[in-house]
Symmetry: C2
Subunit: 106 residues, 2 copies
């Protein structure tokens, strides 16, 4: 699904913009696992993800509350992923936590 089917605002978004380092370094399998974990979290509303040929990616995940985001941030396997992300997988990233105030869809 290209566009996540989110409920009416307000809800929350985490925008993660990154550039990957060269080589897989265990990223693909771990990323799949972490996405599955996110989908199982209470308060998870959906996600959208794109990565281009230059290894630049934007992933946006949607949540029903800041508490749900905080809880997932502190989940053990996700914390391990955050550590590996900084050390191994990303040459640069920005992460932003936002409150979605309005939306519109085609």
């Amino acid at each position: 699904m290209v566009v996540a089917r989110t409920p009416s605002p307000p809800y929350y978004a985490v925008i993660f913009t990154s550039k990957r380092t060269d080589g897989d370094n265990g990223y693909t399998a771990f990323a799949e696992e972490v996405l599955k974990l996110a989908e199982q979290q209470s308060g998870f509303l959906g996600a959208e993800s794109v990565r281009d040929q230059d290894q630049v990616g934007i992933t946006v995940s949607y949540w029903d509350s800041p508490e749900a985001i905080r809880k997932f941030k502190n989940e053990a396997r996700h914390m391990e992923a955050q550590r590996l992300g900084k050390e191994l997988w990303y040459s640069t990233f920005g992460l932003r936590v936002c409150k979605v105030e309005r939306d519109t869809f085609l």
Copy 2:
């Protein structure tokens, strides 16, 4: 630049997730023009954009206020782009206006 150099929160983000239709249909030139226009708007803070081989894209633009977003929304050439986007360029899209509450960078 992969990650936009935004100031300390709070600021605002517009998340635009889309899938392009086949063919250029004047999109590339118009998209360039609209990005240049955005960069000239007062309150524009930066943008991040990725499109993959399946023509799925996420573009996030950052702004200092909801007023700056509203003003750009009503800019004449941007309104023309919005019309062409719905009619011609996108098979689906979602647009979300958000308040960025916190951020972190590598």
